[in-house]
């Protein structure tokens, strides 16, 4: 077979072509990389160069030069140099030999010898041909393309691609910079201000700026004469400029340049002689200059710009205050919240916002009344700074949150910015947890029920226990578990206000007994061996007897607690009805439509309470309902129907009839509650006989004492009526003098009453304070009517109520001196103490004005008063003995009846002592008031004892909201701040020029 052979020249020619192409490509790629590098660097340099055209041109020229050099280099290195280097066959053969060592010598020799001129000693032609022949053959094995190093081209390509890639990336990331850089290099910058001449000196003088602020800011128009031209105002402020042109002018304009970015805009100015006027509106911070065109057409512009400062409209700052954070609150209470909202210009609306899981709500806060009140009080328009503060009653019934649920809440306020849209300020977030002591108690009762079931099951198991050893093991284990559970339930009841001491004691004793038996049983159980039944012969009957007793005890307590729970719900219903009645009365008086929402909420709360009542009823044992609870005692359905009628009347707008209907509902509820109290007493009588018997004994005695006191009060009233009739005739002539003297004292007393810190008052004290105020109004009216005796009587009642309040507050402080309310209570007590002497003074004054009783009263009347005094003394002794007895019985009476009765009787006994004293003094008016007050106190003691017997918590369902401690004191510093701010403004206005800033800082420090 013939071997194809390529002659050496042809081979070399092929290699040359390939080498030329390779080198051209390689250099071309490196040139491209270098070009891309230049393209990257040039715009950056252009950016640095900025507006300097000369530098830009220099850079551009340099760049151009580099590019040209690069191109030349590329041509030389890529095209010329290879040809020069490898144009000869010998050079190329040498290059090939560099890559193929094995043929290097032969190839070079073949090329050189073939072309070598003849010379002496040269090898023969044949030898050369042979060499050529052999070399040609060997070249047949070499592919010319394999001689080219591919990595060289790859490296060059990588460089080129990298350079181009960086360039493109930079272009994408910073197109503006690249574009700007190129622009600043390539394009000439326009002449500033269209080539206007820059003037280093001002072109205008006597500049006056008049600022017209946006209407919402309620700022007066502000004129700044001889101004520097710098202006500061809210966005939307119109600035009217007036100046004298200092150079000949044909036209004038303002050039407004934004500070950060954006194009300058031009505002034409009007020229009137040398007077220039122009107007601009502030929308953001900027600079402006005046540009003047002279009559010759030359345009000059000021070098130094003037500032326009856009003053930001701040969002309102909102402070929210609550009684505590976090706050535990029952579902039935209202919480007092206080807020202070401040804005630089004004507040349009505020809302209380809350969130709890999915429940979200908003409650608008009525700001108008606060603002109007402030304005009204000052007689001025509302404060321009926009500041409102006030209190808000938040009814927790509005929340759809179950007991244990947590709620976040805050206040959001909007300002009155009508230019940029309202700014919203938000207070810090506060938290509350909805809790219900009653529900917590019911949860523990649920555990008690589960325990009772376990014990009953254990009993059942033991009653039918056979010889199966594992059964005894199980029962023993379950019993031990029950003993532990008894301990945890006892602990849960420990701080439960709805649990009585007797219950705790019963559970504790039960635990002890069962524990002993469980231990004894454990000892009898042999380890690792089945127990022998006979071994338990002594223990089992005791164990069964104990479990039987415990089952009954637990069941009795559960029945009783559930019945008491029913009464607790009934109390809640009564409280809601009272609140609803108050709201309806208020609505009837004011017709304020906002009350309708509250009324609706209250009715909703009542619906829930009735549903709760029905749920409780259904949860009670059938036999308890049958035996003790009369049908009319739990009338959830009737209550709901009655309420439905009230609702219909309210929605029909007939508030008067709604009130009447509600009154019927309340009476129905009262009857039911009374019947339910009877049910409870009856059950206690059957199942807790000793407790009930003692309670009955005490309550019967209390009823007797109260009846006697009622008789004394009636008799005292009769004597007074007779006295008053005679006194009225005598006193008619003193009317004017009395009105004047009493009026002054009444005003003084009212001021003292207003100063009493309401936060520190207990619910009862607050009720009494209302009574004092009503009695004072009565005194005023009676004095006006000339009925001094009646006025004196009313004044006595007012004084007695004040005494009662003082006693109540002292008791509250003594009960819990570390209470969070203690300080406020002490404040309130101090306030009451300050009011008492004035009340005494009023009594003395009225007494002095009244004819003396001894002047009017007959000898029979005197004897009657003496008789009454003796009776009062006897009754007081009985009450005292009863109080002692109640205290002595203490824990033997159900619930807190003993403690509460002792406490309330103490107050009544004081009133009786007072009555006795008045009777001794033969003061018919004072005696009437004091005897009646004593009778009322006894009635209250009776009611309280009855509810305390079932652990009802006083005030737990009252309508008294949870108040912020010290909220009233909070006003003082606020007021002080207001005053300071006012003073600050005045001082600032009057301060010597240049001292404003110092004064401002001084006051700011003071405020801090």
């Amino acid at each position: 077979m013939a071997v194809s052979r390529t002659p050496i020249p042809t081979f070399l020619e092929r290699v040359r072509t390939l080498v030329y192409r390779h080198e051209a490509r390689r250099v071309g790629l490196y040139a491209m990389a270098a070009l891309a590098g230049i393209a990257l660097v040039l715009p950056l340099v252009g950016v640095m160069v900025g507006a300097s055209r000369a530098t830009a041109l220099a850079v551009l020229a340099l760049g151009g030069l580099i590019i040209v050099l690069l191109a030349v280099t590329a041509v030389v290195l890529g095209l010329v140099a290879p040809r020069r280097r490898w144009g000869g066959d010998a050079d190329l053969a040498r290059w090939v030999g560099g890559r193929r060592r094995e043929i290097a010598s032969d190839l070079l020799s073949a090329v050189e010898l073939t072309t070598a001129p003849p010379r002496p000693g040269a090898p023969s032609r044949a030898l050369v041909d042979a060499l050529v022949e052999v070399t040609t053959t060997r070249l047949g094995d070499i592919d010319p393309r394999s001689l080219i190093e591919p990595s060289e081209l790859r490296r060059a390509r990588r460089w080129a691609l990298a350079a181009v890639g960086v360039n493109l990336a930079f272009l994408v990331i910073e197109p503006r910079m690249v574009g700007g850089g190129w622009r600043s290099l390539v394009l000439a910058h326009p002449a500033p201000y269209d080539g206007a001449r820059l003037s280093a000196v001002p072109l205008v003088g006597d500049l006056e700026a008049t600022l017209t602020f946006p209407a919402y800011s309620r700022r007066p128009r502000l004129t700044l004469p001889s101004s520097s031209g710098d202006v500061r105002g809210l966005p939307g402020t119109t600035v009217a400029l007036r100046a004298r042109v200092l150079v000949p002018a044909a036209s004038a304009e303002l050039i407004v340049e934004p500070i950060d970015r954006g194009e300058p805009r031009t505002i034409s100015a009007k020229l009137d002689g040398d007077q220039l006027t122009a107007s601009l509106t502030i929308d953001r911070s900027a600079r402006y200059r005046f540009a003047i065109s002279s009559p010759s057409g030359e345009r000059a512009i000021e070098t130094a710009p003037r500032a326009i400062e856009a003053e930001p409209d701040q969002a309102p700052t909102v402070q929210l205050m609550a009684p505590a954070d976090p706050l535990d609150v029952t579902t039935l209470r209202r919480v007092e919240l206080a807020y202070v909202i401040e804005d630089d210009f004004g507040i349009t609306s505020a809302e209380l916002v809350w969130e709890s899981g999915r429940d979200k709500g908003r409650k608008p806060i009525a700001l108008e009344s606060t603002r109007a009140a402030l304005a009204g009080a000052a007689g001025d328009p509302p404060a321009p700074r926009g500041r409102v503060q006030g209190k808000l009653m938040w009814d927790i019934a509005e929340l759809q949150v179950p007991s244990g649920g947590e709620v976040r809440y805050w206040i959001e306020a909007k300002d009155n910015d009508t230019v940029g849209g309202p700014n919203i300020g938000r207070s810090r977030e506060l938290h509350l947890k909805v809790v219900s002591p009653r529900e917590r108690h019911e949860e523990t009762l649920g555990r008690q029920q589960a325990l009772a079931e376990k014990i009953l099951k254990n009993l059942g198991g033991r009653l039918t226990l056979g010889d199966e050893p594992t059964a005894r093991d199980d029962l023993a284990r379950q019993l031990r578990e029950s003993v532990v559970e008894l301990g945890t339930i006892g602990a849960a009841f420990e701080k439960d206000p709805h649990a009585s001491d007797a219950l705790r004691k019963a559970l504790s004793q039960m635990r002890e007994r069962l524990d002993k038996l469980a231990v004894a049983e454990q000892r009898l159980m042999p380890k690792g061996k089945p127990p022998v039944r006979a071994a338990f012969a002594g223990l089992d009957p005791r164990m069964v007897g104990e479990l039987e007793d415990d089952t009954i005890v637990l069941a009795d307590w559960l029945d009783r607690e559930r019945l008491e729970g029913l009464l607790d719900v009934s109390d809640e219903i009564a409280a809601h009805q009272k609140r609803l009645a108050d709201l309806l009365a208020q609505y009837q008086r004011t017709k304020d439509p906002r009350l309708l929402d509250e009324i609706e909420r209250e009715m909703h709360a009542l619906d829930r309470a009735y549903a709760e009542l029905d749920r409780h009823r259904r949860g009670m044992a059938e036999d308890v309902l049958d035996q003790y609870v009369h049908k009319n005692a739990v009338q959830a359905q009737a209550g709901t129907s009655c309420l439905e009628e009230v609702r219909k009347l309210v929605r029909a707008g007939d508030a008067a009839r709604a009130q009447q209907k509600l009154e019927q509902c309340r009476q129905q509820q009262e009857r039911a509650a009374s019947s339910l109290e009877g049910s409870l007493a009856s059950m206690r009588g059957d199942k807790f006989t000793d407790e009930q018997k003692k309670l009955d004994e005490v309550m019967n005695e209390l009823s007797d004492v109260a009846r006697d006191q009622d008789d004394i009060a009636s008799e005292s009233n009769r004597i007074f009526e007779s006295y008053a009739e005679k006194a009225d005739e005598v006193a008619r002539d003193h009317r004017r003098e009395a009105a004047k003297k009493a009026g002054t004292l009444i005003d003084k007393l009212r001021r003292r009453l207003r100063d009493i810190n309401e936060v520190g008052l207990t619910p009862f004290a607050k009720e009494e304070l209302d009574i004092v105020e009503r009695r004072l109004a009565d005194v005023e009216r009676m004095v006006g009517d000339g009925d001094l005796a009646e006025a004196l009587s009313m004044a006595h009642q007012a004084k007695q109520s004040l005494d009662t309040i003082a006693g109540e507050l002292e008791a509250a402080i003594n009960d819990d001196p570390k209470s969070k309310w203690a300080e406020a209570t002490q404040d309130a007590l101090d306030g009451v103490q300050r009011a008492r002497p004035v009340a005494k003074e009023l009594i003395d004054e009225l007494a002095a004005l009244s004819p003396k009783p001894e002047q009017i009263m007959s000898a029979d009347d005197h004897r009657a008063l003496d008789r009454l005094r003796r009776r009062e003394s006897l009754t007081r002794d009985r009450a005292r003995r009863l109080g002692d007895r109640a205290k002595q019985l203490g824990g033997e009476l159900p619930g807190d009846a003993g403690t509460e009765l002792g406490k309330k009787l103490g107050g009544a006994i004081d009133q009786m002592g007072n009555a006795e004293e008045r009777l001794r003094m033969r003061d018919p008016s004072g005696a009437r008031a004091a005897t009646r007050a004593a009778a009322d106190a006894l009635a209250k003691a009776r009611d309280r004892a009855r509810s305390a017997a079932r652990q009802a918590q006083e005030g737990a369902v009252g309508d008294e909201p949870i108040r912020i401690p010290g909220a009233d004191e909070y006003r003082a510093p606020e007021r002080f701040r207001e005053d300071l701010l006012e003073a600050m403004k005045k001082k600032g206005a009057l301060a010597p020029e240049g001292y404003d800033e110092q004064i401002k800082r001084y006051y700011q420090e003071l405020i801090k």
Partner: protein, 515 residues
């Protein structure tokens, strides 16, 4: 009564108010009112037809028409008659009638109707479980119609309406009674407005002797019609009490143990309530105990009268009262002696003490709550009560073996019918039938109103395939507690076993109550 007198008085007092009315019309209005008052509807209807021609537009006539429609069972018609007539017309009687008609219509508007087999009664009832006693009601009342009609000589020709009400509150809506009155006095049925109103036994926990109650109320209706409502309450009650069992057995006196005790104590202490004291109303007596004693007295008096002069004599006494004689005189004349002699002889009869006794139990209305098996526990002696209660608690939780132990402990101290009844039922549930029969049999014999013991006995007898005895026990339970599926299903099976055709009726009731 007051409203009728008021109406009559009002009509007399305003004769000249309308020019076109004359004294005759006024007199007829009074007559019509009196007829309506004394259960003489046919007479009232005739007078009213005449008045319609003469003074149709007067408010009084409209009201009388409405009242007649109401008493005839046309409640919607009564309301329509009073359309546009103000409530305060006829001295407020219009408002009262309208309110009563409206509430009656609201309760009974959707009622179904069933005619008694004899066609003498129309039983109206709510759809649902009451359907299972509608047929029985008709059967009992047809039997009463026959027996009481024979005794008193009055068999109403018109079908008498009977309304079975679902709850005491419904009875309160359909009558002047309040729910509290109903619960306090245990009033469960009423004969008024020319109809019988009966609260269904399903409203009570243990049922009540509803069949006898139907007959009792029907007696009141018959006596009212017979004597034109002139018979005083005490005699009415005595007669109704005597006649209430006549539909199922011959007349006999059977006092409850409480009544027996009350009578014995009163006789011993010489403190029987005199008939003068019973006048004008038993409700005016000072205490419930006094009222119970008075009822027991009149019951024994009528029973004694019946034994002395038979029903004929009683009928004569009633007719005499219709004709204007006082009850005392009429009774004395019927007995042929002076009233003091009547009292003396009756007391002597009482001291003889030959009447039967049975345990008396109050009716217990369902009030809801969690089933405790201990309703009625208070009737157990305090010594046994603890164990009885524990037994109930264990039973309610399915621990029947343990419950038996506690019940047996409770019974160790002496007989306790309540506990024995519970024990018997528990034993049946445990399959200890012989002991259950032993415990339940004396209870059923002692008190034919003890449904718990009766149904328990029925179950035990059925389990022993003693079908005849089982039927007797179940039927006794049916008379008290017809909504207990155990009773109805047990009876269905017992009837079927004995090929009694009533098996189908009971099977249907059983199926309905179980579903």
């Amino acid at each position: 009564m007051r409203r009728w007198l008021l109406a009559a008085g009002l009509v007399l007092a305003t004769p000249t108010a309308h020019a076109r009315r004359d004294r005759t019309v006024a007199g007829d209005v009074i007559r019509a009112a009196r007829f309506l008052q004394t259960a003489r509807l046919d007479d009232a209807r005739a007078v009213l037809a005449d008045l319609q021609h003469r003074a149709a537009d007067t408010l009084e006539v409209k009201w009388l028409e409405a009242e007649l429609a109401f008493q005839s069972g046309d409640y919607a018609g009564a309301i329509k008659q009073l359309d546009k007539v103000p409530d305060d017309a006829v001295d407020g009687l219009v408002g009262q009638t309208r309110k009563l008609a409206e509430s009656t219509l609201a309760v009974t508007g959707s009622f179904l109707e069933a005619r008694s087999p004899g066609g003498h009664f129309v039983v109206r009832y709510a759809a649902g479980p009451d359907a299972t006693i509608a047929g029985l009601t008709g059967e009992v009342l047809d039997a009463a119609w026959q027996a009481i009609g024979d005794d008193l000589g009055m068999k109403p020709a018109d079908p008498i309406r009977v309304e079975l009400l679902g709850a005491p509150s419904d009875l309160a809506k359909l009558s002047p009674l309040t729910e509290t009155d109903i619960e306090t006095t245990g009033t469960i049925a009423l004969s008024k407005y020319n109809k019988l109103m009966v609260v269904s036994p399903r409203a009570t926990i243990f049922g009540y002797p509803w069949m006898d109650t139907l007959a009792h109320e029907y007696t009141h209706l018959v006596v009212s019609r017979l004597a034109h409502d002139a018979v005083p309450v005490w005699l009415q009650e005595g007669l109704a009490r005597l006649e209430q069992t006549r539909w199922r057995k011959p007349a006999e006196l059977q006092l409850s143990t409480t009544e027996q005790a009350l009578l014995s104590a009163a006789l011993r202490k010489g403190r029987l309530i005199t008939f003068d004291e019973m006048h004008p109303s038993m409700a005016k007596l000072p205490s419930q105990e006094a009222a119970a004693l008075a009822y027991a007295e009149v019951y024994t008096l009528v029973g004694w009268m019946q034994s002395k002069i038979g029903y004929r004599g009683i009928r004569d006494a009633l007719i005499s009262q219709r004709d204007g004689k006082s009850a005392r005189r009429a009774v004395a004349e019927a007995l042929g002696m002076s009233w003091p002699a009547v009292e003396k002889e009756w007391r002597a009869h009482l001291k003889g003490g030959d009447s039967k006794t049975r345990a008396g139990k109050p009716i217990r209305f369902a009030k809801g709550g969690v089933d405790s098996e201990n309703v009625g526990l208070e009737q157990v002696n305090t010594r046994a009560r603890k164990h009885a209660r524990l037994g109930g608690m264990l039973r309610a939780r399915g621990q029947n073996e343990a419950a038996v132990v506690e019940y047996e402990k409770a019974l160790a101290g002496g007989p306790e019918p309540f506990v024995a009844g519970k024990l018997a039922r528990t034993l049946v549930e445990l399959g200890r039938f012989d002991r259950a029969i032993e415990v339940a049999t004396p209870l059923v014999s002692a008190d034919d109103h003890d449904a718990v013991a009766a149904v328990t006995l029925g179950m035990a007898r059925s389990a022993r395939h003693q079908w005849r005895e089982a039927i007797l026990a179940y039927e006794q339970a049916l008379g008290v507690s017809p909504f207990d599926p155990t009773t109805r299903c047990g009876l269905a099976e017992a009837y079927a076993q004995t090929k009694d055709p009533r098996a189908a009726r009971e099977r249907s009731a059983c199926d309905q109550l179980r579903n």
